[in-house]
């Protein structure tokens, strides 16, 4: 399809700078939004770990908290691996399975 604006501005198909500019604007708006709160995920991870650890023995390395931000919906993903031996609570009562 013919690109009329390009025809008039004399720009060729190599005018990729506007694409670069737009991509950067979107990306940086996103990254700047995250920058103020890099510790939010670490805080969530620590509190989730503390809460679950009160009832189940956990390997702190196996607690992963991830956030994906989209334009409309953001998701918080919490992935906790519970070792087989720990599937009873610290006081001996059975606990619900995760996952």
């Amino acid at each position: 399809m013919m690109n009329l604006p390009r025809l008039f501005t004399g720009r060729t198909a190599s005018a990729s700078a506007p694409v670069a500019r737009e991509r950067l604007q979107i990306l940086l708006a996103h990254e700047r939004g995250l920058r103020g709160q890099p510790d939010l995920l670490e805080l969530l991870r620590a509190e989730i770990l503390a809460t679950v650890s009160r009832h189940v023995m956990l390997d702190p390395e196996k607690v992963v908290v991830r956030m994906d931000r989209g334009n409309h919906v953001s998701t918080l993903e919490i992935d906790i691996e519970v070792p087989m031996a720990a599937e009873t609570s610290r006081d001996g009562a059975p606990v619900a399975r995760f996952g």
Binding site: T12, S14, S16, A17, P18, A20, R21, L28, R35
Partner: protein, 271 residues
């Protein structure tokens, strides 16, 4: 009063070391007493760009560790008596650079020089953090290219949060230096233009350095481009930037290609 300036970028290969050498030399040519400090531990190159690689005896780490005195490690430029170099070490142990050690050296340099230019390593790790840590002002070197602009944005965020000044609630004055700019390509829309970059990074412009063979030629012979060919386009752009650092008002020139009629007809690029 002494000013500590960090030359930083996040991304590698954008022209930090070239710019540190050129601006340091330009300030020294204006009569200022200048030291350029190489923070790129392990991959030092400022000595090479300044043509002092064979005169390095002691380095930054030696001074931090108390092996040498600062005066023993400083190398005076052979061409400019006001220009000094504090080289980086080639040791692999980057942890040898400590917060306290750097703080002490910067404090001592402040008593001896008008300008302390810290050439940051690429990246956002320890070396880059320490290079910016004690800065009063920062020069962010960016190329008109997406990854460089993104990294610059990241570095600007760090300057506003991780420096001593930021932690005290003060601000580090920031200057944007756009290097490797090709006016013709930008005007054809093949390259981000100055307005785009300024709008995205929202940081005041210190200068525009054109893409030029003169820069490579100067580093080949170990001479800052402002000394090697003072009339070349990049040398003039760096000198203007140095004058702006001194507080002078210098009109911003977008480097134009100097093309003769024959060059135009033959489609040759100005060298």
């Amino acid at each position: 009063m002494a000013k500590v300036l960090v030359v930083t970028s996040g991304k590698g290969g954008v022209g930090k070391t070239t710019s540190t050498a050129a601006l340091g030399a330009a300030l020294a040519q204006m009569g200022e007493k200048v030291v350029v400090v190489d923070f790129d531990v392990g991959l030092r190159n400022l000595d090479l760009v300044l043509g002092a690689e064979r005169r390095v005896v002691f380095d930054l780490i030696n001074v931090v560790q108390g092996v040498a005195k600062l005066s023993q490690a400083l190398i005076r430029d052979k061409r400019l008596e006001n220009l000094w170099l504090l080289p980086a070490s080639q040791t692999r142990d980057k942890d040898a650079l400590t917060d306290e050690g750097v703080s002490g050296i910067i404090a001592e340099l402040r008593t001896k020089f008008d300008w302390i230019l810290c050439d940051s390593p690429a990246g956002i790790e320890r070396g880059a953090m320490l290079a910016m840590r004690f800065a009063d002002e920062a020069i962010i070197v960016a190329n008109p290219e997406v990854s460089s602009v993104r990294d610059s944005d990241r570095i600007i965020g760090m300057l506003d949060s991780k420096t001593v000044r930021a932690e005290k609630g003060e601000r580090v004055e920031k200057h944007l230096l756009i290097a490797r700019y090709d006016t013709a390509r930008a005007s054809r829309g093949e390259m981000l233009n100055i307005e785009d970059i300024l709008e995205i990074l929202a940081t005041p412009l210190l200068g525009i350095i054109p893409e030029s063979q003169d820069v490579l030629r100067a580093s080949n012979v170990g001479s800052p481009v402002t000394l090697n060919d003072a009339n070349s386009a990049p040398a003039r752009a760096y000198s203007d930037a140095a004058r702006r650092l001194m507080g002078q008002i210098v009109p911003m020139m977008v480097p134009a290609e100097r093309k003769g009629l024959m060059d135009r007809l033959l489609g040759r690029r100005a060298a």
